[in-house]
């Protein structure tokens, strides 16, 4: 066990720090962003500078608009650490760079790669993911949105739901039923769909938080070239699955948990109820420390998974539990934030006396959404028990 990075990586870190010392002042703040709306231009400029120096799109080949470095997990980790520590944006994120681009690199045609990867990593083309449907949640492979051949095109009809950023996206990558005669999983194709196609209608989906974090997307004979299928027709399920697990791990990043924990400790030290801090309550303090032990465990768990990846060793059951465990802890941290505020924990919207913009309530609800989204907790438990512990699938009920 050795938790140091070694001289080669430390000099990589030093170069990055020098870069940040020079440029951080003009950088957009925090996290990753989707390059849309008013903030889009500043983010795209920052992204261009990051790519030029190899701190974004680092391993994307040069001919597709990336920096062209060999994949190196520790470099990736150091970039994230340093940009986070400096409080600056990690550049253009979202489902385009994080899910579509790796998929195209693996399965896309040369023409698709040339056309989409560069604009996507530069933030010029914004993507949304069209997987879930009202009737196809956990049983994703049952999607019904269908494509009917019409000359060299498809006419797409149906409905997608839970589509983040559909309202600002230029393109969608979606799972569409192109082979109605084929069996369930074999009937799907992975299709790239321009969002300005006539016949596509995007409507905001307001969640329990009061915000429209998602959209519904309706298709009515939307005409898309058949050439927009990634890989072969009927291979969509396998292609979509190459990036789904990636999303599950993104949903429970330990850096986010750590940030929430730190905000919670600050909150519990600053508020005063009956002249005492929430930290002075033994009960609240006990809950805080219990959660801190879990956040700390997940931090080192992530390091353990990173090591397994570095050493090319299968992580086994330990690699399957991150989403389930992380989302639960995240929800509980935000719940404790509400409890630490007592009655004032109920305030919302633009209420007088509101704390931190109402984030403890909104995040408490949003993290419940994370427990459900990206594979519900119950689907995660099926995956853990079947793939991790070798237990059998629930047998299908006999057809009546």
């Amino acid at each position: 066990m050795d938790l140091t990075y070694g001289p080669r990586y430390e000099s990589f870190r030093d170069e990055l720090r020098a870069f940040l010392a020079e440029h951080a002042e003009r950088a957009p703040r925090g996290g990753v962003g989707v390059s849309a709306g008013a903030a889009g231009e500043a983010l795209r400029q920052w992204q261009a500078l990051l790519i030029e120096h190899g701190y974004a799109a680092r391993t994307i080949p040069k001919e597709y608009g990336g920096y062209g470095a060999e994949p190196d997990i520790l470099e990736r980790v150091i970039i994230d650490e340093e940009l986070n520590a400096a409080g600056v944006s990690r550049g253009v994120g979202g489902q385009g760079p994080e899910m579509l681009v790796p998929t195209l690199l693996e399965h896309g045609s040369e023409e698709q790669k040339q056309r989409h990867i560069g604009p996507t990593v530069r933030g010029e083309e914004v993507w949304c993911q069209g997987y879930s449907e009202p009737g196809s949640g956990s049983d994703l492979a049952s999607v019904q949105t269908r494509a009917v051949e019409d000359g060299s095109d498809f006419l797409i009809t149906g409905q997608k739901i839970w589509t983040s950023t559909a309202d600002v996206s230029d393109m969608m990558f979606g799972l569409i039923r192109t082979e109605p005669e084929a069996k369930k999983h074999a009937g799907l194709s992975y299709v790239l769909i321009p969002m300005d196609t006539p016949g596509i209608d995007v409507r905001p989906l307001v969640t329990m938080t009061g915000q429209a974090e998602f959209n519904e997307v309706f298709f009515n004979d939307a005409r898309v070239p058949q050439a927009n299928v990634v890989g072969k027709r009927g291979e969509g399920w396998a292609i979509a699955n190459t990036t789904l697990r990636h999303e599950r791990n993104m949903l429970a990043s330990s850096a986010v948990l750590d940030g929430t924990l730190r905000s919670l400790i600050t909150l519990m030290g600053e508020e005063r109820v009956n002249g005492e801090r929430p930290l002075d309550s033994p009960v609240l303090r006990d809950r805080l420390m219990s959660l801190q032990s879990r956040v700390t465990a997940l931090k080192y768990h992530q390091l353990r998974m990173l090591t397994a990846q570095l050493q090319g060793r299968p992580p086994g059951v330990a690699g399957l539990v991150t989403k389930l465990a992380g989302c639960e802890v995240s929800h509980q941290l935000n719940g404790l934030g509400i409890d630490a505020l007592g009655e004032l924990g109920t305030l919302y919207d633009d209420s007088k006396h509101l704390r931190a913009g109402g984030r403890w309530q909104s995040q408490h609800m949003f993290t419940l959404g994370l427990i459900i989204g990206g594979g519900t907790a119950q689907i995660q438990k099926n995956i853990i028990s079947e793939r991790g512990l070798g237990m059998p699938r629930e047998p299908k009920p006999a057809k009546a």
């Binding site: 066990m1 050795d2 938790l3 140091t4 990075y5 070694g6 990586y9 520790l74 980790v77 400790i265 030290g269 930290l279 002075d280 033994p282 303090r285 006990d286 805080l288 420390m289 219990s290 801190q292 032990s293 879990r294 700390t296 465990a297 997940l298 080192y300 768990h301 390091l303 353990r304 990173l306 090591t307 397994a308 570095l310 050493q311 060793r313 059951v317 330990a318 399957l320 539990v321 389930l324 465990a325 119950q378 995660q380 438990k381 099926n382 853990i384 028990s385 079947e386 991790g388 512990l389 070798g390 237990m391 059998p392 699938r393 629930e394 047998p395």
Partner: protein
């Protein structure tokens, strides 16, 4: 960057488990401890021959000179087999105290004997964490007076390592010394032998560190004990999960193995989802003990607290997966249940450790 076990550490875990499976399965443990808790027959001697007692003892004193992570791996494997034997006190806490505060002469004399297992030292650590009534041992006119409860690994001990005056000093006392009364205290976990010691003017055979000047060594010994108890709960829980999955794959009801019902699978998944991140924390706490002095005490407290929460959840859930048979004496599953239950209470249950974690970070006075 390498946050993983080394090949040697994985080999240590495998060879220990193989040894326990062959030479000391739970059926044998059951016979060994039937008459007296903590009684290990020749098992501890055999483990000492494998080098288990000397893992933490420096090579110059006849040990392997390994670190706390190696000790945690060993503890995990021993608990996996609900193995009796004084690993916690005699192979971890006592050698740490001697390494921290012992004189070169004491180290040269005592550590080799600990490493071979010819010497067993029990540790009276309970009052470092919680004092009942008048419990506690104090020094008056150079002699020990008072009572200590639940002395760790008291069965078969040759010497007792006794924190005095709230942990200021560390006294070594001979078993059977004049004025010392030892009474076995059976707990729910018969794989370990605890005792009460009553001191009535007992002579100190020697001090570890200066008389009244061993607080730092006592702290290290306590942290080491917590890391190893966390590892113990981890290993016992891990085995309980393995047994539950194996049982669910062979037990049939409604014409199906019960492991094909999601109600049962999800219980097993929940156990794994609790255990695996907790394992990562045990590794880090052990690593921090040797390499991150500023974090060592906090991480030991967090690891012990988390495993004290996760462990009991896993063993009770594993028992539920077994259904009625898991509740029987004959099935032997309760040996793991009880081992974890005792791990949870020793050297601080979660609420005690959480309070200490908050204090260590200055969150509370």
């Amino acid at each position: 960057m390498d946050f993983a076990l080394s090949e040697e550490q994985e080999l240590l875990a495998q060879s220990l488990r193989r040894f326990l499976e062959e030479d000391c399965p739970v059926t044998r443990v059951r016979e060994l401890v039937a008459d007296e808790p903590g009684s290990d027959g020749g098992v501890w001697k055999a483990l000492c021959e494998l080098g288990i007692a000397g893992l933490l003892v420096p090579e110059e004193h006849g040990g392997s000179g390994l670190g706390m992570l190696d000790a945690a791996i060993a503890a995990e494997s021993l608990a996996w087999g609900v193995c009796p034997g004084p690993f916690l006190a005699s192979a971890v806490m006592a050698p740490i105290a001697l390494a921290e505060a012992g004189t070169p002469e004491q180290q040269k004399r005592l550590l080799p004997a600990l490493a071979t297992g010819s010497l067993r030292i029990a540790v009276a650590a309970t009052e470092l964490v919680s004092k009942r009534g008048e419990a506690g041992v104090e020094v008056r006119d150079g002699r020990l007076h008072g009572t200590t409860l639940l002395v760790l690994d008291a069965f078969g001990a040759d010497l007792f390592l006794v924190p005095t005056d709230g942990g200021a000093g560390l006294a070594l006392v001979e078993a059977g010394a004049a004025g010392l009364v030892q009474t076995g205290l059976p707990t729910v976990d018969r794989t370990r032998g605890f005792a009460e010691l009553v001191f009535d003017g007992v002579a100190v055979s020697e001090w570890v560190g200066a008389e009244g000047g061993a607080a730092a060594a006592t702290r290290r010994m306590l942290d080491a004990g917590r890391v190893v108890l966390a590892a113990d709960a981890l290993g016992a829980s891990e085995r309980a999960l393995e047994l539950a999955v194996a049982y669910a794959l062979q037990r049939k009801q409604f014409d199906r193995v019960i492991g094909s019902f999601q109600a049962v699978k999800h219980l097993c998944a929940e156990m794994a989802a609790e255990l695996e991140p907790a394992r990562s924390l045990v590794w880090y706490a052990a690593h921090a003990f040797d390499h991150e002095p500023d974090e060592a005490s906090l991480m030991a407290a967090h690891a012990k607290a988390l495993l004290s929460e996760v462990g009991p959840f896993v063993v009770r859930t594993a028992t539920e997966v077994h259904g009625g048979i898991g509740f029987t004496d004959e099935q032997n599953l309760h040996y793991w249940f009880k081992r974890v239950g005792v791990d949870r209470q020793l050297l601080g249950a979660p609420e005690v450790l959480h309070e200490e974690a908050a204090r260590l970070q200055g969150l509370v006075d």
